[in-house]
Amino acid sequence: MFPPIPNASVAGEASRPRFSERDLVRRSASEVALPTTRLTEIAKLIDVTKCIGCKACQSACLEWNNLHEDIGYNHGVYDNPMDLTPNTFTLMRFTEWDNPESGHLEWLIRKDGCMHCADPGCLKACPSPGAIVQYSNGIVDFFHENCIGCGYCIKGCPFNIPRISKTDHTAYKCTLCSDRIAVGQGPACQKACPTQAIVFGTKDEMKAWAEFRIKDLKSRGFEHAGLYDPPGVGGTHVMYVLHHADKPSLYAGLPDDPSISRVVKVWKGVTKYFGMALMGAAALAGLAHYAVAGPNKVTEEDEDSAGSLATGRDLQPPRGHA
């Protein structure tokens, strides 16, 4: 058993956050002064081979974050809701797969949600200063006060995670329970997980734990068992143990080889200033569109540019604004 994290302290002093804006390593559409000391990188490890699809993680997430999801319908599957929403930061996705090699049916169940990429496409695509931040421990967090609801983060995300709220028109996703981690707790989903399919600790610990799990899986005939920590996004702070690590897309379309678009990389590099100017222009385009079409819609140009962020196509300057 991975040692449980001790119960939280509710005393005022003990629950003071242990990291803050001083620990930011990235901030959307802005520069930060890099902290002199970096926090230890943390990670959440989701072992899908231990997951029983009970949705305790979904339940705990709704409870801890005081999220109010709508009551939906049954659509002929166990998944509910059918997709991530501004209130559903994490979602069990169920896949029935006939394994051609063993001849056995496998019910592959994956907890979907933000991967907290080391190289976060959402943050890099975000035009609004400080709407998305990354702490040196690896948490990528959204600050709704700064969000303009443009939806670029969704387009920039190789995992298709953030969702825009129709109520306040800002983007939402898993925070990795930054408020809990700041006081030495694990995320709410991790704490609830009945089978410890979700564990939490330093990234190194999680990798070592994954090795231990993979060894057991290999002994049970899952020769392709492995860790999902995709290098294309610099690794992630939410990782999976998969029985079929050679085929991640079996698990409800988990990207086989996700990567952050070349454009975003370039933009954060030498052409940063150009990039910022461009994003300012893009936001202006958004404003123009808002004036006539209302909130939460982006222009064709925005769609184009954001789409190319995700696909890696070269970004063309928005028509009429370059």
């Binding site: 058993m1 081979t49 231990k50 997951c51 029983i52 699809g53 009970c54 949705k55 305790a56 979904q58 339940s59 709704l62 409870e63 109010h68 999801e69 709508d70 009551i71 939906g72 319908y73 049954n74 659509h75 002929g76 599957v77 166990y78 509910n80 809701p81 029935e96 006939d98 056995h104 049916l105 496998e106 019910w107 169940i109 009945p194 089978t195 410890q196 399919a197 231990f212 799990r213 057991d216 002994s219 049970r220």
Partner: protein, 812 residues
């Protein structure tokens, strides 16, 4: 459970059959994943559906619902045929060597003594041969043709792999793989645990399902050891406690039972409860029955229970029939013979079979009283909700009182978990509005009723007027007062018989254990098995020391486990004949030449010599029973019976319908589909989903989000055959009613071939109703048959026949 949840980590093989632990008990299932991760344990799931448990299993085998006995007798047959038996254990710790009376026999699905008109047996022959000394005769060589072992061998011989496949629909190779994996656990150093739940109990032969696995576990030597056991995963937070305290129509607290009409006197009652040892030197702990009974009557009636009035024996109601279980209660209601009915935290309109019959019964009551923290369908059975509850409101004359009660978070006291731990909890919130505790409500009703009898007299007022109700506030006994009373206390000073000048205990003090209970009226105790839970040292149930020396999983200083803080029942059987652990790595106890000691509280007298006293101390024989004598109504061995509604005739006994010893009311027979009826061709089963808890969590917004709407599950093949689309509406109907639900079309259910016939399965989750946050839906009990297990009357929810069609949904 014989073993605690935390012990499952010590196993080598988990068999989930008759349950779905990952779905219904996720946090307990954690210990399965621990065993897998740490010991390389394997998990087998045998179920009609590929369940959430199956999703993390090492091996899954399908089985048609209601055929588990055939499967398990097949495994026993396999073990015997392949010499996969823990011989030392079987020979010395079970009744394998006991000789059975000559008249006992089995043929064509019936045991000797069957009376068809009564649907019951005269079980006179279901007994051992007894010698002139009063002890059972045994043949330790197992050669005697009448010894239990040879009768068992003969009994299971027909359950060949072919027969198992024919009955259960389990492909031969899959059955053999499971049988081989199980058989490996006959090694003294391999342990297997059985985790089961309502998948075994909710059948007309539910008790025998469990017995069959218990027999298998005995011959594999898996009872009493770490990582072994028969583990009933109980459904509700205190269903174990309510059973322990005897809130059942035929029970008294601590597994004593109510007298029946023929037990006209206390002496007569006690004469069948003397439990004299059946073999020399055996403990036969029920010999203490009188102490437990007298102490209970002193707790109930105080000074009104005396030696002269047989401890108020006549205050107890006597049973004229075996049981006034809930099925009978609703039958009586339907016949207009019940006037008042109380539902305390219970929603029978959803929880019992044949909703139409239940509603008819409730409509004939004069007064229904419902106490619950939540709205229930039962309290609103008279409300018209269209197709969902088509009540003729104006015609229903039943008066209904609905009381708001506190819930767990606003109440203090103890609950017994599945592993028999009594855990104390504290109130953490202010009750909403005018809500009160159930104990307050019961006390308020009682003091009013008593007052009426005081003032007016009436029918036999004695037990009401003399009920011991000496609480500081009679209108609201405190949890502490009640807990202390259940533990037991001294009514007089009691001297040590060996040294009369020394007092064993003083008047008014709490007893330290059931060993202190007396049969002379000097002690009172409401539930003998809870003795030790609240002693002079304090509330043992509130203990929170979670240390666990050597990681055995026993946690002896966490809460209190009945009996006597013992964590694994029959734990003496973890050692061989000389008192050495069968498997040193699984040491639980050890005999050091003078006494037993170890990680658990020994389930044997601490100085009982290992070769003298058997481990099954509650049994008069001191051994486990492969042949159960006259204690089960439907036979000393299990045998395969089809469900009352079945797609095929019983292949081993074609003339027998259902369980021949099950009670069936006349009108209910008429509502069973014929065997193999083309009008109801599909084998249905009902079950829970992990997102919901029975009919409660549809009142919880979060859980309603996770599973918002009712559905049924069918195979891809059946969907194609019936033109049903994934996510579309279907109508499902049985002889008793119909429901509409969405269709989940899945590869996890596959048609099976049984006795040459294709059998399609229809899976029906149970959680839906007309109140709550989730979408309105139909509970599964609109379909289910009104018949119960032959021994304990648990309804046959798991196996019945339906038809299904694509539909446009419930709105006309």
């Amino acid at each position: 459970m014989t073993n605690p949840w935390t012990d499952i980590k010590n196993t080598d093989l988990v068999v989930i059959m008759g349950g779905n632990a990952a779905e219904a008990h996720p946090c307990g299932f954690k210990w399965v994943t621990e065993a897998k991760a740490n010991r390389g344990a394997k998990l087998i799931v045998v179920d009609p559906r590929f369940t959430r448990s199956a999703s993390v299993a090492d091996y899954y085998a399908p089985i048609r619902q209601g055929t588990d006995i055939a499967f398990l007798l097949g495994v026993i047959n396999y073990c015997i045929a392949n010499d996969k038996v823990q011989w030392d254990y079987t020979k010395t710790f079970t009744n394998a060597s006991y000789l059975v009376k000559d008249g006992f026999e089995y043929a064509d699905g019936l045991f000797s003594g069957y009376d068809e008109s009564k649907r019951d047996y005269d079980n006179e022959t279901w007994e051992y041969q007894v010698g002139p000394d009063g002890y059972a005769l045994v043949d330790e060589t197992l050669q005697h043709p009448r010894c239990v072992w040879n009768l068992l061998k003969q009994h299971v011989a027909q359950y060949t792999t072919e027969m198992v496949e024919r009955i259960c629909g389990t492909p031969k190779d899959k059955f053999l793989t499971v049988a081989q994996m199980i058989a490996e656990c006959s090694s003294p150093t391999k342990a297997m645990t059985s985790m089961y739940a309502l998948g075994w109990t909710q059948h007309s032969k539910g008790a025998q399902n469990i017995r069959t696995m218990a027999m298998l576990q005995l011959i594999l030597g898996n009872i009493g050891i770490r990582g072994g056991g028969m583990n009933a995963l109980r459904g509700h937070s205190n269903i174990q406690g309510l059973t322990d305290i005897g809130l059942l129509s035929n029970m008294l607290p601590g597994y004593m039972n109510l007298p029946v009409d023929s037990e006209t006197s206390f002496d007569r009652y006690m004469s069948t409860r003397a439990y004299k040892p059946l073999r020399p030197g055996q403990t036969s702990y029920w010999q203490n029955y009188r102490k437990f009974f007298v102490s209970l009557m002193k707790a109930m009636y105080g000074s009104a229970a005396t030696l002269e009035n047989d401890w108020a024996y006549d205050y107890l109601p006597k049973l004229d029939v075996g049981n006034y279980d809930i099925l009978r209660a609703f039958e009586l209601m339907k016949q207009g013979k019940m006037n008042l009915y109380f539902c305390q935290g219970f929603n029978p309109l959803q929880a019992f079979p044949n909703k139409a019959k239940l509603a008819e019964g409730l409509s004939k009551l004069k007064l229904l009283v419902v106490m619950d923290p939540l709205q229930t369908e039962t309290a609103r059975f008279w409300e018209n909700h269209g197709l969902y509850n088509d009540a003729a409101t104006a015609k229903i004359k039943t008066e209904v009182i609905q009381f708001p009660t506190t819930c767990f978070a606003e109440d203090e006291g103890s609950l017994v978990n599945s592993g028999r731990w009594l855990q104390w909890h504290w109130s953490g919130g202010t009750p909403p509005g005018e809500a009160h505790t159930d104990a307050w409500i019961m006390a308020q009703i009682f003091v009013r009723l008593r007052e009426l009898y005081r003032k007016e007299g009436g029918a036999f007022p004695d037990p009401i007027l003399n009920l011991n109700w000496s609480y500081a506030d009679p209108g609201e006994p405190t949890p502490e007062e009640l807990a202390k009373e259940m533990n037991g206390y001294a009514l007089a000073d009691v001297a040590d018989p060996a040294n009369p000048s020394r007092k064993v205990f003083q008047r008014g003090k709490q007893l330290s254990g059931f060993g202190d209970y007396q049969d002379d009226g000097s002690t009172a105790g409401g539930c003998w098995i809870f003795a030790g839970s609240f002693t002079e040292a304090g509330n043992m149930m509130a203990r929170r020391d979670n240390s666990d020396p050597d990681d055995t999983g026993m946690y002896l200083n966490w809460s209190f486990a009945w009996p006597a803080n013992r964590r694994i029942l029959y734990n003496r059987a973890s050692c061989d004949l000389d008192g050495k652990p069968w498997d040193p790595s699984r040491k639980l106890l050890e005999w050091d030449g003078a006494k037993w000691s170890g990680y658990d509280v020994p389930d044997i007298a601490p100085t009982a010599k290992p070769r003298d006293v058997g481990p099954y101390i509650m049994n008069a024989e001191g051994v486990g029973r492969l042949f159960v004598r006259g204690m089960m109504r439907d036979g000393p061995f299990p045998t395969h019976y089809e469900p009352f509604e079945s797609p095929i005739l019983n292949p081993v006994a074609p003339k027998i319908r259902g369980n021949p010893a099950s009670r069936v009311f006349a009108d209910d027979w008429k509502q069973f589909a014929d065997i193999g009826s083309p009008a109801f061709p599909y084998a249905a089963t009902s079950y829970r989903l992990t997102e919901h808890f029975h009919y409660w969590t549809k009142n919880n917004h979060v859980n309603a989000v996770l599973q918002p709407e009712s559905f049924v599950e069918i195979s891809v093949e059946l969907a194609e055959e019936k033109g049903i689309v994934k996510g579309g509406w279907v109508r499902v109907w049985s002889m008793r009613g119909e429901l509409f639900a969405k269709a989940v079309v899945t590869k996890r259910i596959k048609p099976m071939i049984c006795d040459g016939k294709t059998v399609h399965i229809v899976g029906i989750p149970i959680h839906w109703g007309f109140v709550g946050a989730a979408r309105k839906g139909f509970p599964a009990n609109v379909l289910t048959p009104f018949v119960g297990d032959a021994n304990i009357e648990t309804p046959e929810f798991k196996a019945f026949m339906v038809n299904i069609e694509s539909s446009s949904g419930p709105v006309a």
